[in-house]
């Protein structure tokens, strides 16, 4: 599988995982734009959602992100998150 396809699939998977983990009841995964800001003004996620995403990444991709200083950039959008996961995933 090419890297591009893998990234596309990752984006879709992450959207589904986020909607489920964060109980985003009124949002369909495909309504989340790839470059939309997840926190603050965009999707409106907060600090509690952020730590839930840590757990989701750990469970699904074996990524330990807790002490990463760059979390703000990695968590900016689905796009940035997918790229990070693609590079660092352990499963």
């Amino acid at each position: 599988m090419s890297n591009v396809n893998e990234l596309d699939e990752l984006r879709e998977q992450l959207k589904k995982l986020i909607v489920e983990a964060l109980s985003l009841e009124d949002i369909e995964p495909d309504e989340i734009a790839d470059d939309e800001a997840l926190f603050g003004s965009g999707l409106g996620l907060d600090s509690l959602d952020a730590v839930e995403i840590y757990v989701m990444l750990q469970r699904n991709f074996g990524i330990e992100i807790k002490n990463t200083s760059d979390a703000k950039n990695i968590f900016y959008s689905i796009d940035s998150l997918a790229k990070y996961v693609q590079k660092h995933r352990k499963k």
Binding site: A21, L22, L24, E25, D26, L48, D49, V55, Q58
Partner: protein, 339 residues
């Protein structure tokens, strides 16, 4: 100090709100007639409120919806929601979320549990939601008590008002149903096989029909437009048993010792039991108080629920006393009077 009930929100197996409870009382609905002994949260859903509760559990949702009804008139009424206090009372708290968190621990290990589940398993999560959603900035407290959780909360509300901690108090009582607790109740007390609640049955130990629900009262120290009755007395192990027109006994099959209720039913005044309408709930006293408010305001009668051979019944009661006994023959009483 006299307090006024100036707002009432109820959510139970009978449905949501005053009208559905009145209908259930009028139709003599009983636990065996309900399809499920759970609150129908979908039917109770309020879009405005639920949009602020995406992560919340059932326990919190029940609490918030009941508060929503209790303060529905706050914009047009003369009470200040901001300066209101909140007392959330429960016996067992959000136990389904606690067990959900234990599932996380068992499945994923200590290093990989959900922080959302953890933070919602903390007992005061529901009260926190209430404060956030209704922008309440007064004192907020959650109490967890097996004995008289509702009367303890009302007593505390009175202390808050007497000591001027806030202008009004929302007392919200919540209990949820779940498989583990049902199994525990069944082992301890036996759950009734056919969901039939026979609360005053002195020949055999009462059997419980665990249910769930939430009731919220807005208590004010002054009489306001929406006030619907006053609480003239509230306390433990003392009650003026002669001056009341009617009793509502909180017998619901949970404490097996019914000595106290037996004593009460020998009273010449009518004694009613409404637990078959709402089920066996540790915070059931709140439903009794809610029903007393409806009776005092002539929304429904109580004749079908009288359990003693009353020497004299009173068609238009002006004072109703709700009594609840525990397993040790202690009791709590709340007297409500018409305005």
């Amino acid at each position: 100090m006299t307090m006024y009930i100036s707002g009432l929100g109820m959510l139970g197996i009978f449905g949501k709100g005053r009208d559905e409870l009145i209908k259930a009382v009028k139709d003599s609905r009983t636990t065996e007639s309900y399809e499920k002994l759970n609150v129908d949260l979908k039917a109770a859903k309020n879009k405005k409120l639920s949009s602020k509760m995406r992560r919340a559990d059932r326990f919190t949702k029940m609490a918030v919806y009941s508060v929503g009804d209790a303060v529905e008139n706050h914009e047009t009424e003369e009470f200040n929601l901001r300066e209101t206090g909140v007392i959330l009372t429960t016996a067992f708290g959000p136990h389904n979320t606690t067990f959900g968190f234990l599932d996380e621990l068992i499945t994923y290990g200590e290093k990989n549990v959900s922080p959302i589940k953890f933070s919602h398993s903390v007992h005061n999560a529901a009260a926190s939601y209430i404060a956030q959603i209704f922008n309440i900035k007064g004192p907020v407290t959650t109490v967890a008590q097996y004995k008289f959780p509702v009367v303890h909360a009302i007593t505390l509300a009175r202390s808050w008002l007497e000591n001027k901690l806030c202008e009004n108090v929302l007392v919200c009582s919540v209990e949820e149903k779940g498989n583990v607790f049902d199994a525990a109740v069944n082992q301890k007390l036996k759950i009734s096989d056919n969901n039939r609640l026979k609360p005053i049955n002195f020949s055999e130990a009462g059997k419980a029909v665990p249910a769930e629900g939430a009731v919220s009262f807005l208590l004010t120290s002054a009489k306001i437009k929406s006030s619907c009755c006053r609480i003239s007395q509230c306390g433990f192990n003392s009650c003026d048993f002669l001056s009341t027109d009617c009793y509502i006994a909180g017998a619901d099959g949970i404490p097996p010792d019914q000595t106290f209720y037996k004593k009460i039913t020998s009273n010449p005044k009518p004694v009613c039991v409404f637990s078959p309408v709402y089920g066996s709930i540790m915070t059931g006293t709140a439903f009794d108080i809610g029903i007393a408010v409806l009776i005092l305001n002539n929304y429904c009668g109580y004749n079908d629920y009288i359990v003693n051979q009353a020497a004299s019944s009173c068609l238009q009661p002006k004072k109703i006393t709700c009594v609840k006994s525990d397993c040790c023959n202690d009791f709590a009483a709340v007297s409500l009077e018409t305005l």
